[in-house]
């Protein structure tokens, strides 16, 4: 990587993180729930951009499709079942602020031990990863290592994820109904 490209990545990171922070603060400040839903879509899209700069295109793809796309629509659907504005809380925001500051400090303290980004000696790159990367080319013959890890090496995990999604669908249907009973014509048009 040349120096210009490193500088470019840093500038993009700073811009994305800055916009992400502004969006987060606005979400906390806004009382209009419609605006909060729209901004949470923006937040997801910015996160997707950050994942792209980390070369995690598969994750970015999912974040953009799920976070910025479908979940925004679902949140708007949920919004139509409730009120448009958040009630002004009766208590002060001191305790939540304290919790957020403590949690944030713990998280930042945790990152101090994490190996540098892209460090080839990081534990995650020395355990099973070399075997997966080699096997993906020779045994599985799939160029996208993410797919071969997701569907073959970690097939059990993905089966679990699929069951989780199925369970989530079942849970929502159990609470809200499947829409099997059609609304009567004229009642809701």
């Amino acid at each position: 990587m040349t120096e210009e490209s490193i500088l470019g990545t840093v500038v993009v990171d700073i811009i994305l993180f800055g916009l992400l922070a502004i969006t987060a603060v606005e979400i906390a400040r806004l009382r209009s729930l419609f605006g909060v839903v729209a901004l949470s879509g923006v937040f997801s899209l910015l996160s997707a951009g950050l994942f792209v700069t980390l070369d995690a295109v598969d994750v970015a793809f999912t974040e953009a499709a799920v976070g910025a796309g479908v979940s925004t629509v679902l949140m708007l659907g949920a919004l139509s079942l409730t009120t448009q504005r958040e009630r002004i809380p009766s208590h002060t925001a001191l305790l939540p602020f304290f919790v957020v500051v403590v949690t944030g400090s713990v998280l930042i303290y945790g990152t101090l031990d994490v190996p540098a980004f892209g460090d080839p000696k990081a534990p995650v790159h020395t355990h099973v990863a070399p075997e997966y990367i080699e096997g993906s080319a020779e045994v599985i013959d799939v160029p996208n290592v993410v797919t071969s890890v997701l569907a073959s090496y970690r097939g059990f995990d993905t089966l679990g994820e699929t069951v989780v999604i199925f369970t989530a669908g079942v849970a929502v249907i159990a609470m809200l109904g499947s829409g099997l009973r059609r609304r009567k014509n004229g009642q809701q048009k």
Partner: protein, 147 residues
């Protein structure tokens, strides 16, 4: 929504490319970013878009709720079934290498990954559509003041 002429025309033009793009993401997942999860969400977004513009009843003519629910379960069953299929070839659960010639594991791996990703696609797309149906078809309960 009879008067949103531009929205209706654009939606009609967009539906087919969205579905096609979902299938591209699905079947190109071996070579580029993407796979069953992403493709399923994109696939369901075509139905959501159709419902937003033309109404819930119109889209439920195309994808009835009972069919969507059945498909959500079918995807998981397909995934789990592929795992049981490898028992028939004396393999471990979800070991696709044994499907064809054990000396050429990649043939079985290709088939296994294809089927498993298909199961993920079917479940994710159906569950997303089902959750959307549940939210959009839900009539809010009347407030205490409305009585």
């Amino acid at each position: 929504m009879k008067h949103h002429l531009i929205l209706r025309i654009i939606t009609k033009i967009l539906i087919a490319p969205i579905l096609l793009f979902a299938l591209y993401v699905q079947f190109h997942g071996d070579f580029g970013p993407g796979g069953g999860f992403q493709a399923g969400v994109i696939f369901s977004s075509a139905f959501v878009l159709y419902a937003l513009v033309f109404g819930l009843e119109e889209v439920q003519e195309v994808a009835p709720p009972s069919l969507v629910l059945a498909c959500a379960a079918m995807g998981v069953l397909l995934y789990g079934g592929v795992g049981f299929a490898s028992f028939l070839f004396d393999g471990n659960y979800l070991n696709y290498s044994v499907f064809f010639d054990p000396h050429h594991p990649h043939e079985g791996q290709h088939l296994g990954i294809l089927l498993v990703e298909l199961g993920v696609l079917i479940t994710v797309a159906s569950v997303m559509i089902a959750i959307f149906y549940a939210f959009a078809g839900h009539v809010p309960e009347p407030d205490d003041e409305d009585w």
